[in-house]
């Protein structure tokens, strides 16, 4: 808060005096610092941007960009009018929604839990262990999931031993979403924790010392110091995540989907891949990507605005 008001104060004062040029001169170093990054953005992000136009063409690699026929919105209409579109949209959003509700808070909670551990060796060990699954490929995880959850697997043997009927976890539409969300939480929570731990490490320990002197208990310290200190990070990550709301992990969903759960497991990313096998993969997938980006940018801007309205700094 303090830095914000300071920033605004400075800004207002300078605007009033109208010393823009002098200010630019004063901040010359900041502009010089921007240059390498800016060049990177121009060369590697903006120069290839014309590729978006591929979405409006029927791109053929040999004919090249200019030789490929222009088809206008054909790729989009094909996508929107396909009989699968409604189902895909619902499936994609549902999985994203569950991931947002359950997957997003998980690393925050784990980071806060880790933060409360006082034994350093234990904390470090746990931190390192939970971070491992991020590096195990989905192929391996899908295979392990099959071993655990198939009709003869450990879980079902346990269920049978309890006298219940076997649950077809892998081949039923009802169990698909819990399974997917569970996998994601298991795999990515530890890795996601890192960034919050960094934020927690940035808290000035003097604040806690002062709180202890004031007689604040652990919960009060957590509520009045810890949480507010990482709120900015949480909001930043939440807004950034909104931009990719329609991306579900392709590898995971592709591996976990099958004939018997396809009614809930087919999402945009998997659909584009299947379609890409036989049709102009580049044009079609660019078109779908563009659609996802448009939704993403709208969500980013609106959530950013919301955050600002709520008095947070937002991402820009």
């Amino acid at each position: 808060m303090a830095e914000m008001s300071a920033g605004i104060k400075i800004k207002n004062k300078r605007k009033k005096q109208g010393y823009k040029l002098r200010q630019i001169k004063k901040d010359l170093w900041l502009y010089i610092l921007v240059i390498p990054g800016l060049l990177h953005f121009i060369v590697f992000k903006y120069l290839p941007m014309w590729g978006i136009l591929i979405a409006f063409k029927d791109y053929n690699a040999y004919l090249g960009f200019f030789g490929s026929p222009w088809v206008g919105f054909k790729q989009f209409t094909d996508f929107f009018t396909s009989p699968e579109f409604g189902r895909l949209f619902v499936n994609t959003l549902t999985i994203s929604f569950y991931n947002l509700i359950f997957g997003f808070p998980a690393p925050v909670i784990m980071a806060l839990m880790l933060n409360e551990i006082r034994k350093q060796w234990y904390k470090r060990t746990i931190q390192t262990l939970v971070y491992i699954p991020h590096f195990i490929s989905w192929v391996i995880i899908a295979s392990l999931t099959y071993t655990l959850f198939n009709s003869q697997g450990v879980i079902n043997k346990y269920i049978a031993a309890m006298g219940n009927e076997a649950v077809p976890f892998l081949t039923s539409a009802d169990t698909f979403r819990p399974l997917i969300i569970g996998q994601t939480i298991w795999k990515e929570t530890g890795f996601g924790t890192i960034i919050y731990l960094a934020a927690l490490a940035g808290i000035d320990v003097q604040l806690y010392e002062a709180a202890v002197i004031d007689g604040a208990n652990r919960f009060k310290q957590f509520w009045h110091i810890t949480l507010p200190s990482i709120k900015g990070t949480i909001i930043t990550l939440l807004i950034l995540r909104m931009g990719h709301i329609l991306d579900n992990g392709f590898d995971q969903l592709f591996l976990m989907s099958n004939s018997l759960n396809r009614s809930v497991s087919e999402v945009f990313d998997v659909y584009v891949y299947t379609m890409g096998i036989t049709r102009g993969a580049f044009s079609f997938s660019t078109a779908v990507g563009l659609f996802k980006s448009l939704i993403g940018i709208v969500l980013i801007y609106s959530s950013n605005r919301l955050a600002k309205a709520a008095g947070e700094s937002g991402i820009f």
């Binding site: 610092l33 591929i54 939970v130 491992i132 192929v139 940035g202 000035d204 930043t236 996802k292």
Partner: protein, 290 residues
């Protein structure tokens, strides 16, 4: 300091829950590790085990029998280190000015940056840019395109924004240039952030196989993940028999597949504990000030 019983109960609960979760996350990896040493028979017949009945080193011997994997390992190591350093240079230098709200033109810059968070040109134009830069079959192509992630940039920028402004202001008043403030005040205060994003970039470079797939045709430049992926996919079975003499091209053994996974993940896993000390130290702003 005395602890209330609620506090003690919470500590116990906290310790146990984290411990249980952590053990579920480590078990699959231990299984993979055990498989890499186990005889093939055991891998096929047991659904899960952590201690192999016999320890064989033949998978690892196989890995080192050809120059491919050790060489790919060196390539990955080189790309990861130089990539992470380059990326941190780009990210920190750009994030700092963008964190200054008074900077003229900041909003334009941030708009440009945010746009690329969701919009990108895609594979073919990216390839043509790399090609016109003359980067095909150069390590540049594996390092530069990924050297500035929009996502990372925005998060680092926000971290900078949350640093106490007063110290910077007083440094500026004392006659320190913006660059001096950045190098002498801001960076030392940002060690957790620097450690985090060095790790993120390192992980990104280590796991990246797509750049090599697209931008190199020289198999001496293939990083570990590309070769590893191929071995795992080959073990996944070849449905329509793309090879002619089938009996001759056996899919790799399960133990080899697992050894390759161990070989591909352990080095990057080892980075984290090394960087961890920067996460646990709470910063002492007063100490730096004084």
């Amino acid at each position: 300091m005395k602890k209330s019983w609620q506090s003690k109960l919470f500590d116990m609960f906290n310790t146990v829950v984290l411990g249980v979760f952590a053990s579920t996350t480590v078990l699959p990896f231990l299984y993979v590790l055990a498989c890499s040493f186990a005889p093939e028979k055991e891998i096929l017949s047991k659904p899960f085990f952590i201690i192999p009945s016999e320890v064989h080193l033949r998978s690892y011997k196989y890995i080192f029998s050809s120059p491919t994997l050790p060489r790919a390992f060196l390539v990955s190591l080189f790309i990861t280190i130089s990539g992470a350093l380059t990326a941190m240079f780009f990210t920190l230098t750009m994030a700092y000015p963008l964190s200054k709200k008074y900077l003229v033109g900041r909003n334009v810059l941030l708009g440009l940056v945010t746009f690329t968070l969701v919009f990108g040109g895609g594979m073919i134009p990216g390839f043509l840019v790399i090609k016109s830069l003359g980067f095909i079959n150069k390590y540049w192509a594996l390092i530069l395109p990924g050297a500035l992630s929009t996502w990372n940039l925005l998060v680092v920028k926000n971290f900078f924004q949350e640093l106490p402004q007063e110290m910077e202001d007083s440094a500026r008043v004392d006659g320190c240039s913006a660059l001096g403030t950045f190098l002498r005040i801001v960076l030392p205060l940002s060690m957790p952030v620097i450690a985090t994003f060095t790790l993120f970039y390192a992980v990104g470079y280590w796991n990246d196989y797509r750049s090599a797939l697209l931008y190199t045709t020289n198999n001496k430049m293939w990083p570990l993940q590309l070769v590893l992926r191929q071995i795992i996919l080959m073990a996944a079975g070849n449905i329509d028999g793309a090879t002619f003499d089938e009996a001759y091209t056996q899919p790799p053994l399960e133990s080899v597949k697992n050894a390759v996974i161990v070989f591909g993940t352990v080095p990057i896993l080892a980075v984290y504990p090394f960087l961890q000390k920067h996460f646990v130290k709470g910063i002492m702003i007063g100490a730096i000030k004084g």
